[in-house]
């Protein structure tokens, strides 16, 4: 079917083409005439009005930062909040004599000139968007700038919301810090220069929700750049609020108890997997980043040999020491290679493989049954039964309890840990020395865990085998009250042991604390704490100086109805019983304050 319009003869066809092209020409010519009409209207009829606007009325556009969403603890207390702060910005296009202005500013506020020029070098010289130079200016500095405003064209002080923390280092690793977007992060195209974004911890995880949306203002300014009139304001949309599982009271207690020592504390609810507190020391000041963009401080922090940025609760791995003996006991009992009635005479040494293996206690513990061996953490007992239970079974149970794998917590950079076994070693073409079995049986050797893994493992002992996904976030609520995200407790794995064995594990751990075991320092009248101490040598075969061992205490309470798991690890702290257990005790006292107080008043124990 021919769709062309009828067009006479072949000769006439050329005419038809020309006619149609002529029609198009007229159409286009008409459009050009309309355009000229619009130009006549703009330039001649309305010209003087626009000329006026261009001379007097300069419209400046200024972004208005959205307040970041607030993080709450499980009881509705704020973990982090916002407060207004003064931000010093430069508008490149309005700095007529750039060098003079920068020099003045540099002297006035004691900001290195290089820092100013560097900040400006990253944006086009004619940009109208303010470049942030310093955040959280002191009132004194604000006054200085405002006073000499006329000499500082292009310099503006804006009020922006900034993070405020209960204390500088409070829950630093959990919350994470907020910092101006880096050049690298800008490449994705999601951020604008000067945006403050969460860089670690929950601030990073929830950044999309917390960030909100910036608003803006159209401001009329005079020839000197001074605001004359606010023309229009689009309100920023604040970020969403987050309800975490953290208990601010417990978090504070844990930090107070650690008193700045290097190490980590994890407090978890064994009934739900909720993380109630998570600390890592040494901590860094969160406000270092929110305030001034001081590069030197940042460099110092990165190069700090104590690695304050490292979240030791999940990004660092340590040998678990004797805490691991609970796994060995579980493996032996369930496999039938170990019996609660088994006895060993411990004289302080154990000869195996042409070498003498020492107990931690010189002279030994004497006659030991299984419960006693757990309570006194007798190494000789575990050397002997470790061999009987076998390294494969131990490794299998260790993995069943979640060691050697990530816990699935929603924080980045979680370490795997390491559970060595002869089979795994063979796969990688290496040999398992039988002596290693002895090392593993007491939680040493190649074995590596994170404090968070130990907390989850302890929670499994307390709750009868459930391995939770450690939960940090309960829900995210948008400013209008709708819920953007919720998370319920999630059981990831289940360890199957006979109920008698679970009961034995719990009761022997209670013995560690309450019946004169190694964890006696964690004993609290009125509260039955169950726990296991650990003293982990840093490197098995190094000349480990005294005090370099990592002190562990993995515990839960009340022993009969576990509600809280507390795991304490003090890096290089020394003995678990004398260093870590008292810290756990302090934390329990804070958690069960009322209960403990009532018990004391009632004169129950002393």
């Amino acid at each position: 079917m021919d769709m062309t319009a009828p067009s006479g003869t072949t000769g006439g066809r050329r005419d038809a083409w020309s006619k149609r092209v002529l029609a198009l020409t007229i159409l286009v010519a008409g459009a050009f005439v309309m355009l000229l009409g619009q130009l006549w209207y703009l330039q001649v009829l309305e010209g003087s009005r626009f000329r006026d606007m261009s001379e007097k009325n300069r419209i400046r556009v200024r972004p208005v930062a959205a307040p970041r969403g607030i993080l709450f603890d499980r009881n509705g207390l704020a973990l982090v909040d916002n407060r207004p702060a003064f931000t010093l910005s430069l508008i490149p296009r309005e700095m007529e004599d750039r060098n003079t202005v920068l020099a003045r500013l540099s002297v006035m506020l004691k900001i290195p000139l290089a820092e100013l020029t560097e900040s400006l070098a990253r944006v086009p010289a004619d940009s109208l968007r303010p470049v942030r130079i310093r955040r959280d200016l002191s009132l004194e500095d604000v006054a200085k700038v405002e006073e000499s405003k006329l000499d500082l064209p292009g310099v503006v002080v804006e009020v922006e919301p900034t993070r405020v923390y209960p204390t500088s280092t409070f829950a630093a690793h959990l919350l994470g810090y907020v910092r101006e977007v880096s050049d690298e992060q800008m490449k994705g195209g999601r951020y604008r220069r000067g945006d403050m974004i969460g860089q670690t911890g929950l601030e990073r995880l929830l950044d999309e929700h917390l960030r909100g949306r910036d608003g803006g203002e159209r401001i009329e300014v005079d020839a000197l750049g001074r605001p004359v009139q606010l023309m229009q304001r689009e309100e920023p949309r604040p970020g969403a609020q987050v309800v975490t599982t953290v208990d601010r009271r417990i978090q504070e207690a844990a930090e107070r108890a650690m008193a700045g020592r290097p190490g980590a504390v994890v407090v978890m609810d064994p009934r739900s997997g909720d993380v109630l507190a998570l600390t890592s020391g040494p901590a860094y000041g969160l406000d270092t980043f929110a305030g001034n963009l001081d590069r030197e401080a940042w460099a110092r922090l990165i190069k700090d040999p104590t690695h304050p940025l490292l979240n030791r609760a999940l990004q660092a791995q340590y040998p678990p020491g004797s805490v691991f003996k609970m796994i060995v006991v579980a493996a032996g009992l369930q496999e039938g290679t170990l019996n609660p009635m088994d006895r060993v005479y411990c004289n302080g040494t154990f000869d195996y493989g042409g070498r003498t293996w020492k107990d931690w206690k010189t002279g030994g513990h004497g006659h030991m049954d299984l419960r006693g061996a757990v309570m006194q953490s007798c190494d000789v007992f575990f050397y002997q039964y470790g061999l009987k239970i076998g390294p494969e079974a131990i490794a299998r149970y260790a993995r069943a309890f979640g060691l050697g794998a990530v816990t699935g917590i929603d924080l980045p950079g979680e370490k795997l840990g390491l559970v060595p076994s002869p089979a795994g070693r063979r796969e990688r073409g290496r040999v398992w020395h039988s002596g290693e079995t002895l090392n593993v049986a007491i939680g040493q050797g190649a074995l590596l865990v994170t404090p968070l893994q130990v907390a989850r493992m302890t929670a499994a002992i307390a709750n009868g085998g459930i391995l939770w996904k450690p939960r940090l976030i309960q829900r995210v609520e948008r400013p209008d009250g709708t819920v953007a995200y919720t998370e319920s407790s999630k059981m990831l794995e289940h360890v199957d042991l006979s109920p008698v064995i679970w009961a034995f594990l719990r009761s022997s751990m209670s013995g560690v604390v309450n019946e004169g075991g190694t964890g006696a320092a964690a004993r609290i009248p009125g509260l039955e704490v169950a726990g296991k101490t650990g003293t982990a040598q840093t490197v098995a075969n190094s000349k480990s100086e005294k005090g370099q061992d990592h002190a562990w205490f993995a515990s839960f309470a009340p022993a009969k109805d576990p509600q809280v798991v507390v795991v304490v690890m003090v890096e290089g702290g020394g003995h678990g019983g004398s260093v870590a257990a008292p810290i756990a005790r302090q934390i329990y006292q804070a958690i069960f304050l009322e209960k403990v107080a009532m018990a004391v008043l009632a004169g129950d124990g002393s």
Binding site: M3, G47, S48, R218
Partner: protein, 361 residues
């Protein structure tokens, strides 16, 4: 074969076209020069004019009929380049339109405009394209639809919008019945909601802002308002280079590229604009005249397509800058700063000249 120079070819060089483009290039140079203190942008643009002129001569020497014959090949290569953008492309303000070539970036969708015209000429004069039937429409639709989709996805709404009027002009020129043409337009309107869904968030926002400029006082509306102030304040005779505060104090966004007309209008006023519009008018009217006077079917479509391309780009850009149309990113041919656009525009001019020079062969 390629470089055989026929005396008649040289006799038929079309001076009105060349003069109008030379005028536009000079105006572009002056505008870019007055925008920067060092003039480096103007010089860089001039070097692109040099590159483009060489490309133009090559296009003329190759004979448009050879190029149309090779159109399927160009089409495949062009599609390949558009796809490459998704893999290697560099993101500029949320859109992937550029490919890195050493120190240069190159925008395949610009080049595709030319390939599009050549492909149309090839398809509509091929065995399968005549007479213009329903089947032709369907498969031309597919031929056009695929790259159109890719360009929209980049997302480069501007280039996509330019291709449609070019297609329409060629169809009208070939004598498609108005009823059918109207039907297609109606179908297009009916498909608008689908199109709306395919748009990126920021593109929707732009269209909404056109309806209600104060939806976004910080972004697009700001651009339009500032452009209007710049143009209007030029008044009858302009403010000159030094008085052009809107442009020089950078109230005007994207003033080297899409909004360069506003710079020119502020500096030279209505009088200057009249010269500029006349240059574009001369270019386009002369293009149509060449198309009308061509008898060879492929030459007709090439000449008409290229002219429609110039007319569409010019009108959409000027309409956008003067506030008559929504803001879509389309450069002003021969004026806006940008290598790809300049070289491609000059190559398009080459095609038009080439058709004109071979009209009487």
């Amino acid at each position: 074969m390629i470089l055989r120079i026929d005396r008649r070819l040289l006799q038929n060089v079309d001076w009105p076209l060349i003069v109008s483009v030379m005028v536009l290039l000079s105006l572009s140079f002056i505008s870019l020069w007055s925008l920067s203190t060092t003039g480096s942008i103007a010089w860089r643009q001039l070097s692109w004019v040099g590159v483009g002129t060489v490309a133009l001569l090559v296009v003329i020497a190759l004979d448009y009929r050879n190029l149309v014959r090779a159109a399927p090949f160009f089409y495949v290569v062009g599609l390949g380049l558009l796809l490459t953008v998704f893999v290697l492309g560099r993101t500029v303000s949320g859109a992937r339109r550029w490919i890195h070539l050493g120190p240069f970036t190159f925008q395949p969708s610009e080049l595709f405009k030319l390939i599009f015209v050549l492909t149309l000429a090839w398809a509509l004069t091929s065995r399968w394209g005549r007479p213009l039937s329903r089947a032709t429409l369907v498969w031309t639709g597919i031929l056009v639809g695929v790259p159109f989709f890719l360009v929209v996805r980049q997302p480069d709404l501007g280039t996509a919008l330019v291709l449609l009027p070019v297609l329409a002009a060629v169809f009208i020129g070939l004598g498609m019945r108005l009823k059918i043409f109207a039907g297609i337009i109606l179908a297009g309107v009916a498909l608008m909601p689908v199109f709306w869904l395919a748009l990126k968030e920021y593109q929707r926002e732009r269209l909404l802002v056109y309806i209600d400029p104060f939806r976004d006082p910080l972004g697009t509306a700001y651009n339009v308002i500032q452009a209007k102030i710049a143009i209007g304040s030029g008044q009858l005779l302009g403010k000159g280079v030094s008085g052009a505060t809107q442009s020089r104090l950078a109230f005007l966004p994207e003033r080297h590229t899409d909004f360069i007309f506003a710079v020119f209008a502020e500096m030279w006023g209505f009088a200057g604009c009249l010269v500029l519009i006349m240059a574009y008018g001369l270019l386009v009217l002369r293009g149509f005249e060449i198309a009308a006077g061509t008898r060879e079917p492929q030459g007709r479509i090439v000449a008409l397509g290229v002219t429609a391309l110039f007319a569409t780009q010019t009108l959409i850009n000027l309409g956008m800058v003067t506030g008559l149309l929504p803001v879509v990113g389309i450069p002003l041919p021969f004026m806006s700063y940008g290598g790809s656009s300049m070289v491609v525009s000059l190559m398009a001019l080459g095609l038009l000249l080439s058709v004109r020079m071979r009209q009487f062969q």
